[in-house]
């Protein structure tokens, strides 16, 4: 226990066990998790992002705040390490999303891949909110960010840029889900060129 951070919960398995943080997830007790977030560059955003972690029993270990390294959309990437049980980890990630925080990566498996695409057509008349809910309903996909441009209101075709998060290896499935919904609603999908973006 000598290397456990201050305030870490008691490790029920004792100190002689292998460090569960290395592979994460299998240990029924607390293990270390890393989440990668993208924050809007406004005062108070970092605190707002940390609150759901603390409130739900996560034990903060480190915060890496890349303030000088913005994403193309002007967001700030932040990496947070904390200890939590597997159950609490799920709750924390859900709470972060509920706060509207963009979770780019949680743990090592979930939502490790990102997919940006455009939807074009009568997005408002075809109920954009329903479109997004149905994309979210797909188990492998989460909508991280939406930008809408409807310069002519509902009179002309509008465009939306969607940033989706998908589980590793499941971006093709995510894209198929979107294509299916788009086809049904008479919308067009401008997909990224898979595997070519560098």
């Amino acid at each position: 226990m000598s290397d456990a951070p201050d305030g870490a919960p008691e490790d029920p398995e004792g100190a002689d066990e292998a460090d569960p943080a290395v592979d994460g997830g299998h240990d029924p007790g607390s293990s270390t998790h890393t989440v990668r977030l993208e924050l809007v560059d406004e005062p108070g955003q970092l605190l707002a992002a940390l609150q759901p972690i603390a409130d739900n029993g996560g034990n903060l270990l480190s915060i890496y705040h890349e303030r000088g390294n913005k994403t193309p959309r002007g967001r700030i990437p932040v990496e947070v390490d904390f200890e939590a049980t597997a159950d609490r980890f799920e709750v924390i990630v859900g709470a972060l999303r509920d706060e509207g925080i963009a979770v780019m990566q949680a743990g090592t498996e979930r939502y490790a891949e990102e997919l940006t695409l455009l939807l074009v057509g009568h997005l408002i008349d075809t109920d954009l909110s329903d479109t997004l809910s149905r994309i979210e309903a797909d188990a492998s996909t989460s909508v991280a960010d939406v930008s809408l441009a409807a310069p002519q209101g509902t009179a002309e075709a509008s465009s939306a840029r969607l940033r989706l998060e998908a589980r590793t290896g499941e971006t093709a499935d995510a894209l198929e889900t979107v294509r299916g919904i788009a086809e049904e609603k008479g919308l067009r999908v401008v997909a990224p060129l898979a595997g070519v973006e560098t």
Partner: protein, 322 residues
């Protein structure tokens, strides 16, 4: 080599004008209604002048050019779909006479590739068609050099008109109709732009590449899958609004009409690509990207259309026949 040229449009005329520089002579030219045959080689300047002034290339019947004494037939009539006539018959006539055929016309290579290969197998003449894909860009010969069996995919921007429109829409924040009108004024787009903006032209080029990959990788041509335009999944750029390009630009991306061919699929559609990435060529530029098994990714960009540019690809093919 002694060349007969069918088709006296921009490409056919440029072949006639440039052949001498490449060490070849033109002995016959036909357009849709006339022909001229000169066994000692014809005068390019006189031919181009006559075509411009009288609308014909000579006093003969178009069939006379096909019957002339040439080594290579250059087929440069307009691309037609389906049976790919009359271009296909011109090439067949040449191959049945054991002459070589070099095509700038996409129709026969995209729509009747297996027939073309069978004709070439039965005789002593060879068929080449570098000019059908990417104008001046040596796309086909590079795939042949790498060997089709070691190429996993070929993709790229293969239509200058569509690329010009998307580039202008992104740069000026204008809508499709506005930029199309501008492109028509500049002569970059035809009065009827369907072939370019609906993705048909890019799709034909990808179908040709798919055929080269498929037949090139097969041990026996009888086992190779043949592709035609019907096998291509094609979306054009007509209904891409300016707002889509603005949203893409906010995220460091842009939209390009990308064609992709593998040994099994052909797809043309507007795609999101990084704004400063390799595939985001500007204006009427084209780019061909070849994905290889052992040599990584090769990129070749250049002018995808134009009389002299396309004629240079035709004459390179003539040179390869040796």
């Amino acid at each position: 080599m002694r060349l007969a040229v069918t088709g006296a449009g921009a490409v056919g005329r440029s072949v006639v004008e440039l052949a001498g520089e490449y060490g070849h002579e033109v002995v016959a030219v036909a357009d849709s209604s006339s022909a001229v045959v000169a066994d000692a080689g014809l005068d390019p300047e006189a031919l181009v002048t006559r075509k411009a002034e009288a609308g014909v290339v000579g006093d003969g019947d178009p069939g006379d050019a096909l019957a002339a004494d040439y080594d290579v037939l250059v087929e440069a009539t307009p691309t037609t779909l389906g049976d790919a006539e009359p271009g296909f018959s011109h090439v067949r006539t040449a191959l049945e006479r054991d002459r070589h055929a070099v095509l700038a016309n996409k129709g026969p290579v995209a729509e009747r590739y297996a027939d073309l290969r069978a004709l070439a197998r039965d005789g002593d003449g060879d068929v080449r068609f570098e000019a059908t894909v990417g104008g001046a860009i040596p796309a086909i010969s590079t795939v042949e050099d790498v060997e089709p069996g070691h190429v996993t995919a070929v993709r790229g921007v293969l239509n200058g008109t569509a690329n010009f429109i998307l580039t202008r829409m992104a740069a000026e924040g204008l809508d499709y109709d506005h930029v199309l009108a501008e492109a028509q004024d500049l002569g970059v787009a035809e009065a009827d732009p369907s072939f370019d903006v609906d993705g048909t032209d890019a799709a034909l080029k990808c179908v040709i590449l798919a055929n080269v990959l498929s037949f090139g990788a097969a041990d026996d041509p009888a086992d190779a899958r043949e592709f035609t335009l019907d096998d291509a999944d094609v979306e054009g750029i007509r209904d891409v609004p300016g707002s889509a390009l603005r949203l893409a630009a906010e995220d460091g991306r842009t939209v390009r009409l990308i064609g992709e061919a593998t040994g099994g699929t052909v797809r043309v559609a507007p795609r999101l690509v990084p704004e400063n990435g390799t595939l985001a060529v500007s204006g009427t530029q084209n780019i061909v990207q070849i994905e290889t098994s052992h040599a990584g990714r090769l990129n070749i960009s250049g002018l995808g259309a134009g009389g002299p540019e396309t004629a240079s690809a035709v004459l390179s093919d003539v040179g390869r026949l040796g």
